[in-house]
Symmetry: C2
Subunit: 507 residues, 2 copies
Amino acid sequence: MTKARTSRRRKSAPPQIEPRAPFILRKLSSFNVLSDAGLEQIEANADTILAQTGMEFQDDPEILQIFADAGCDVDGTRVRFAPGFCRKTITATAPSRFTQHARNPANNVQLGGDSTVLCPAWGPPFVHDLDRGRRYASYQDFTDLVKLHHTLPWLHHSGGVVCEPVDLPANKRHLDMLYTHIRHSDRAFMGAFIGAERAGHAIDMARIVFGEAFVAENPVLYCVSNTNAPLVMDSHMSGALKTYARAGQPVACTPWVLTGAMSPATVAGTLAQVLAETMAAMTLTQLVNPGAPCLMGSFASTMSMKSGAPTFGTPEAGLMVLAAGQLARRLGVPLHTVGTLSASKLPDAQSQQEAAWGLMMSMFAGANLINHATGWLEGGLVTSFEKTIVDHDLCGKIGRFFDGIDMSENAQAMDAIATTGPGQHFLGSEHTQANFMSALFRPWTPDDNSFEQWHAAGEKDAAQRANGIWKEQLAAYKDPGLDPEIDAALQDYIAARKAEKPDQDYF
Amino acid sequence: MTKARTSRRRKSAPPQIEPRAPFILRKLSSFNVLSDAGLEQIEANADTILAQTGMEFQDDPEILQIFADAGCDVDGTRVRFAPGFCRKTITATAPSRFTQHARNPANNVQLGGDSTVLCPAWGPPFVHDLDRGRRYASYQDFTDLVKLHHTLPWLHHSGGVVCEPVDLPANKRHLDMLYTHIRHSDRAFMGAFIGAERAGHAIDMARIVFGEAFVAENPVLYCVSNTNAPLVMDSHMSGALKTYARAGQPVACTPWVLTGAMSPATVAGTLAQVLAETMAAMTLTQLVNPGAPCLMGSFASTMSMKSGAPTFGTPEAGLMVLAAGQLARRLGVPLHTVGTLSASKLPDAQSQQEAAWGLMMSMFAGANLINHATGWLEGGLVTSFEKTIVDHDLCGKIGRFFDGIDMSENAQAMDAIATTGPGQHFLGSEHTQANFMSALFRPWTPDDNSFEQWHAAGEKDAAQRANGIWKEQLAAYKDPGLDPEIDAALQDYIAARKAEKPDQDYF
């Protein structure tokens, strides 16, 4: 049956039908959950938080000086901002859209406006697949995931830490990860997020790939900078943020909160805090380098009020990302957010109810980059190979959905209706024959066959079918190639950096 | 562990926290996928279809006479409608909203406006649960499902053929099904859909329950009348439609189409055909009894262009239901549509990706009644006990989502943010303590615990947990009681109808 499946899926895989879109261009609107009055209240509350409570910037005296020079109220490590200051600073210089370049220009992604870029899971120290179960992630897994993602047409970005290769020294593995993205994929990728030094390495490596002059003028990396909610930014994050901003590379300023733990237990309270934190961080990017691309980030989910465990795919998470989209549009900056999150341990019914909820809400929010659009399990502790495939179907579906409704004369099909007539079927009609390859989107994993056919094929559930698909995809991976001179220069650079200090198994 | 689960779930079940809402009152807007120009084009195309191709009404001469008397062009069994005639007839008298009464008035449902009523699966001849597998449905299953649904707070309606009790004679089982809804639930329920005689039985039984005078003035039943796409209505459906409409009982006029088979392979073509069919059927309800409640129904999904199998949770199905919502609002009638459809054979990742897609799209469409909001598998051949529970979580989530964002002073939580301050947590804050029971929605099935806790609890997937939950719910079912005189009268009525003719195993 594996052979039969392969053949069915390959025939239905869209690369044979249409060219891969480098990102989604949404032709439908966004969905609004707050009135203008509600949004103004959230904005006023964020201003109040920034003015009265302010934000802590720890272990980074340079940042305190930058804020002081800009006229902010700096009291020890606490910075307070006059009402309106952050908004004015951001809207004065932050671009509303920009292009992140890939080494293959066909894979460049637009960030801002009506575009959405879907990225794989980021950060999990574990991986899971049905054959090998749950285990610590290795560099081999990292490489396999980068290659697998590269074969997936409805993902747009190679991502960053697609899993943590814990068999590599913690203080050097960012070099191997960056190399793997560059070597095995020609899509856009993310930089290293932790600390100024590693961010500098990412920029150095990007200069080797793209050339120094190009990198000086164009975004080629992408940094997610998390605040430590509530209202703290530490030097690991601020160091990377400064480094990328100075190099003109985009920074997604992303408070990560679980309501009730790191923010109030309510949506409106959390939104004000998230807006305050992201505005403070975006303000920093603009003070460091006016005009450097930055994104409003929002990664707000909920927690179990019984156990304190993080929960995902919840009504409140949906409301928060939709409101964040409205707030980002009013600020005139792109929105970075998150996708198919789940607390489930398996690619099961829970994981997909939560995943579909999360990705759909982020799309309706008009998100411009959706991190964790595939593979995330266990609240981010695990990247699942099978869930990557199942989530990827959803990525394709939502992209096609946001193409909207074709109102061409062909699509209106008035002749087909008139000539088919009552009680007849359209299966063999000329119109159906002419449109059947492109009219309807075809995901890879679903089994739409009869019970009897499904039974004969071994009664596989979706995860088991996805297990076959990711292996076929990985086997079909095609090396995009890399200029040998660039490859050698990267390897030399990495060897030199690794030689500078001993391995460490901690950050 | 079962005991632990039970206790956890019972504590988190919302009936202990807040009264059950009899239906969802949406505080958020609907999502539009077509411009006014696009909608006008679809409407013009529907008018063209009705005027030029027309619709077949088979084996029901009375209907042909009704249309002829109204000035329509009747040619054999083909009826053609002047452009604008159907819209004018519907908008002149069809109510934009109405109440369907339940025998417990607390369970009355509003149909129209901003309300949404969620109903269980309808029609499956098979049932599935993890203990007994897939099997033909029995009357015992039917009864168990009615009781189970009655315990579910986020469902609003007892439904109709929650499964086909195939161990009962096909020509009499509608009597048993109606009795079971009335006896074991005090929520609103649906009538029998097939043929005038059975529709009459449903109305007779409703009169026994509610009283003849009340039924004459108030909707107490609900009929789904499917067209046979393309552009045919047979006498089974028209007979029931006429009977309910004459009794002032609501009819959801619902074309059921798979694009490419029963309509063109394109969204725009399918929409025009669906609108034509539903308008012709709604027109019939208004000619039979002006002012009788009717709903625009839309059940448009897709098919595999390779195998011809029905497919669900697709981008095109989403676009069609959202456009149908816009078309219904322009007609000024409530929208009836469908929910958690899936072609999957199991309550697995496929089933929930498709289910979440379908229910969320119908909610964003502003649907007023969503049939099949729980339990549907295998393209409607199966009601799954476990999927009922998993889908029910989604029903609760989407209901809470459409409550929108609480902007009260308490929810803004400005004091909590000010007093907690940077780097502290909100877990023990006064605000969190005051809000934690109600602030965040809690579904029943998800496992949000750590891997280690989940492992210790037996590594159950969502379906396995749902298996425990439906059994606990069924065990906890509370008989709502029924006036013994009404019960006896119903039983007498049923016995008399059954005695009138021999059993038949076919319709």
